[in-house]
């Protein structure tokens, strides 16, 4: 079997078996060796057992999306083949230990555990597998050796040497498959990739928060957003961040709002269920005109839904979150780079307009890895909009654009905020004329927000007949699919700000003869937003809501059908 330019390797086993370690080692080793690499995982909501799988895609080009095909399957548990059978083809090379294989599925026997046991402990079997896969993919052994040496350095020479031995034995096993003609893979290496960054979506959001000046995070752990809380907690000492695990999401959001009030730059991170508890806090932020940054990592719902899977099902919930009428901003990153830039931007928007900003990520984005050229880091401190207060300071001074200068306590003036309707100084009022002026003032901030909306990106020829609209994490799969289809009359319009919508939206849609929307949900929520804002409906809605992301193959076929 010969594979060229693009290979998908999938590892499948049970939770707690170390698949994540294999994923970690392989993605790093591949990148260090100059391969473009992408990885994503699907897993069950459990600590041990079940079936989890990781897809590692290696390509001659930079790739960022999930494919359903499996070129090489490595099974680490009996039943893995059944778990993934819909994605296997007659060309899939199955590498398996005898006891993990299944009838009717030809496989190449790989005695990972036996080799590991001979080295001294079956714990090494994962590293044996890393060695084998690396050999098949044509990774230099030196790259693996130096990675393992550094990774295990702190554990002492014996552990280092045993891991290298395990990798070596696995590598020889893999090399043998290549030599005997069982498989041949040719993928172009690129020396420049060796210097790329590699991280996942949770890290991208965490780094974006740091760049945006975040110094306070209060959250309650919830998949898929826990990684962001973990990341900022790990760096709390180094960057001087208060990172607090709150007793519940209600506390988390109220802490974050209190933190902004006193001068911190705070965020909360959660998923749909946790955000449901936060919505009263959203409304508070709206009323007291507090900045706030929320990462809402979407997963299939209602209620607990499929806790570890992906969906874009909370857009309308986020849009309408919080009782009453007040402005908010919704951002939706589609790539790791955008996850970084948009999170950074969220802090700017929140501070400047004194509104809550929600970053709509999802399990797919948060758990995906790939190599990224670089991040454009801020040269200067984040712009801050806090003013020094004077004796006559009034927090809600009526202003032309609705934005009142925001002071913090500790200066000469008093900073008074109230969840009740209030007067300019922040005191409770039932003056109904003043109520109208305050509502108008808060809503007027929309005008300033609209002047800074991030425009959608058009990918493809501006002379399109068919326009495909997507938002957030579906970006890479839609883009790659359209490129694969190669139809020059089809263009892709990618939204990374999903509310308020950029004024060009209508023009883009009007110019198309056919309008297709792609969403990872069941009801085309962004379609509703677009229709409400532009009056334009979509001709075709390509929707997916089984908890998995769109694969490139699936989108290619559904887009072709829809043309």
């Amino acid at each position: 079997m010969e594979l060229k330019d693009d290979v998908s390797v999938v590892l499948c086993g049970e939770a707690g078996q170390g698949i994540q370690t294999v994923e970690r080692f392989l993605t790093r080793v591949l990148k260090f060796d100059g391969f473009n690499v992408y990885a994503t995982k699907e897993y069950m909501s459990r600590v041990r057992g079940g079936f989890n799988s990781t897809e590692i895609r290696v390509s001659s080009k930079n790739i960022k999306s999930f494919v359903s095909k499996i070129d090489i399957l490595v099974t680490l548990k009996k039943g893995s083949i059944q778990h993934l059978k819909d994605r296997l083809s007659k060309d899939t090379l199955i590498l398996s230990e005898k006891e993990n294989a299944e009838d009717d599925y030809p496989f190449v026997e790989m005695p990972f555990t036996q080799i590991a046991t001979e080295i001294g402990d079956k714990i090494f079997s994962n590293v044996v597998a890393v060695g084998s896969i690396s050999a098949i993919l044509n990774v230099d052994f030196e790259t693996i050796e130096s990675y393992l040496r550094e990774f295990f350095a702190r554990k002492g020479d014996e552990i280092v040497n045993k891991n290298i031995e395990a990798a070596r034995k696995g590598y020889d096993l893999g090399l043998n498959l290549v030599k005997t003609g069982k498989i041949k893979v040719s993928i172009k290496k690129d020396d420049a990739v060796k210097n790329d960054l590699i991280f996942d979506g949770a890290t991208a959001i965490g780094l974006g928060a740091l760049a945006g000046g975040c110094n306070f995070i209060s959250s309650y752990p919830m998949t898929p957003s826990t990684g962001i809380l973990t990341f900022l907690s790990e760096h709390a000492k180094e960057f001087g961040i208060v990172a607090e695990q709150a007793e519940d999401e209600i506390s988390a959001i109220n802490m974050a709002i209190g933190a902004w009030y006193a001068g911190s730059r705070a965020m909360v991170t959660t998923a749909g269920g946790g955000f449901a508890l936060m919505v009263e806090g959203m409304s508070l932020a709206g009323m007291i005109e507090s900045p706030l940054v929320v990462n809402l990592g979407q997963r299939p719902a209602p209620a607990t839904g499929l806790p570890t899977r992906t969906e874009q099902g909370d857009l309308l919930f986020a849009l309408y979150s919080g009782h009453g009428e007040f402005p908010k901003i919704l951002l939706a990153p589609g790539t790791l780079e955008d996850a970084f830039y948009l999170t950074q931007k969220a802090f700017y928007f929140a501070d400047k307009f004194q509104v809550p900003v929600i970053i709509l990520s999802d399990q797919y984005l948060v758990d995906s890895y790939y190599n990224v050229k670089n991040l454009d880091l801020p040269k200067n401190q984040p712009q801050k909009f806090v003013v020094e207060t004077t004796k006559d300071y009034k927090r809600y001074a009526l202003s032309k654009n609705g934005i009142s200068p925001r002071g913090i306590p500790g200066g000469e003036g008093l900073v008074d905020v109230d969840s009740d309707e209030h007067d300019e100084s922040g005191h409770i009022t039932e003056d109904l004329d003043l109520r109208v002026r305050m509502v108008d003032k808060r809503l007027k901030k929309f005008d300033s927000i609209k002047a800074e909306i991030i425009p959608p990106e058009l990918i493809g020829s501006p002379k399109y007949d068919t326009i495909v609209v997507g938002w957030g994490s579906t970006y890479p799969a839609i883009r790659e699919s359209i490129e694969k289809i190669g139809d020059k009359s089809m263009a892709f319009l990618y939204f990374k700000q999903v509310y308020p919508l950029h004024p060009d939206t209508k023009r883009y849609l009007q110019s198309a003869k056919k309008r297709i929307i792609v969403e990872n949900n069941a009801t085309s929520q962004f379609g509703h937003v677009v229709k409400a804002e532009t009056g334009i409906d979509f001709d075709v809605k390509i929707l997916k809501y089984n908890g998995m992301p769109f694969s490139v193959e699936e989108l290619v076929s559904r887009l072709k059908e829809s043309r």
Binding site: T27, R28, K31, D196, L197, I198, F199, T203, L207, L210, A211, G213, N215, F216, S218, H235, A236, K237, E238, F239, G240, I241, V242, A243, A246, E247, D248, I250, S251, A252, N254, M255, I257, G258, A259, Y261, A262, G263, S264, E280, G281, L284, L377, P378, Q381, P382, V386, I408, P409, G410, G411, L414, D416, V417, D418, S419, D420, G426, H427, I428
Partner: protein, 287 residues
């Protein structure tokens, strides 16, 4: 300091004539004056209810947030700017009921804030329903045959659950209340003051006279450092002890927070360390 510095001038106060809240307002002003803490240097965080309107009637920084949610913002405000004196105050329904989860977990964190609970054993603003501290048998429009729930014991809960300063006062004695509030604010750590206050409109049972007759001060010889003894006294409910039940010196949330381990600069004054950020991103080359 003259407590007039805290006066708001002619304002419309939403409390009923004779309400115990007036006494609390007076006591808080007196306390801040005696501690020489000017309006700019402290923040009152409140929730919702008649008690929670107090910050509108005293010159101060204030954050009048959501029902039950005064403690989380208060914790965050103190963590952001430890130079501020932070008081969370609201009614018994707000802090012990709606905000019960924050109440029990904040004391474990031990932020250096003072929580003052107006405890009138009834809901005022919603017109007379039972509160967590209503006595068994107390009849209301909702609890028509009388309250059947055991009353919440904030003092025992606080002592058992890690509050580092636990006291009860009664607004039937304003000077005595000021004395307790002063100690509570001066204490470094989470201070809770359960403050008896009659509701003249909706609670005809727990009146000024009832609170006077059903409370007494802990004796001068009482040692507030003995946790077991404090718990024993907390369970006395035929006559409620007043005074400081329990004091413990313990690191505050701010003091033990990693954010302040190396750098003592308050969060609000800090910049992003761009060099460290760049190094961290650089480290992602290794993954």
């Amino acid at each position: 300091m003259d407590k007039k510095i805290f006066d708001m001038g002619p304002i419309d106060i939403a409390w009923c004539p004779g309400c115990g809240d007036y006494g609390i307002l007076n006591a808080v002003k007196q306390t801040m004056a005696e501690l020489e803490i000017p309006p700019e240097k402290f923040v009152i965080v409140s929730g919702i209810g008649q008690a929670a309107k107090l910050p509108h009637y005293i010159r101060s920084n204030f954050f009048n947030g959501l029902h039950g949610r005064s403690i989380p913002p208060a914790t965050a405000i103190k963590a952001t700017n430890p130079d501020l004196v932070v008081i969370a105050e609201s009614g018994d329904g707000d802090i012990y009921g709606e905000g019960g989860n924050h109440f029990i977990h904040a004391m474990r964190r031990n932020p250096d804030i003072t929580v003052i609970v107006h405890d009138n054993m009834v809901y005022g603003l919603t017109k007379g329903q039972a509160s967590p501290t209503s006595r068994e048998g107390f009849k209301t429009p909702v609890q028509v045959e009388g309250v059947i729930l055991k009353p919440f014991n904030p003092i025992a809960v606080s002592i058992a659950n890690g509050a580092s300063f636990v006291a009860r006062a009664s607004i039937t004695d304003i000077p005595g209340t000021v004395k307790i509030l002063k100690q509570a604010i001066q204490h470094k750590g989470f201070s809770i003051v359960d403050l008896f206050q009659p509701c003249v409109t909706f609670n005809k049972l727990n009146t000024y006279q009832w609170f006077r007759e059903n409370s007494y001060y802990l004796e001068d010889s009482y040692d507030p450092h003995d946790r077991i003894e404090a718990l024993k006294r907390a369970f006395e409910e035929d006559k409620f002890p007043l005074g400081v039940f329990y004091v413990e010196e313990r690191k505050t949330f701010e003091e033990s927070n990693m954010a302040y381990e190396v750098d003592k600069t308050p969060l609000y004054k800090r910049d992003v360390d761009l060099k460290k950020l760049s190094n961290l991103v650089e480290s992602m080359k290794k993954g």
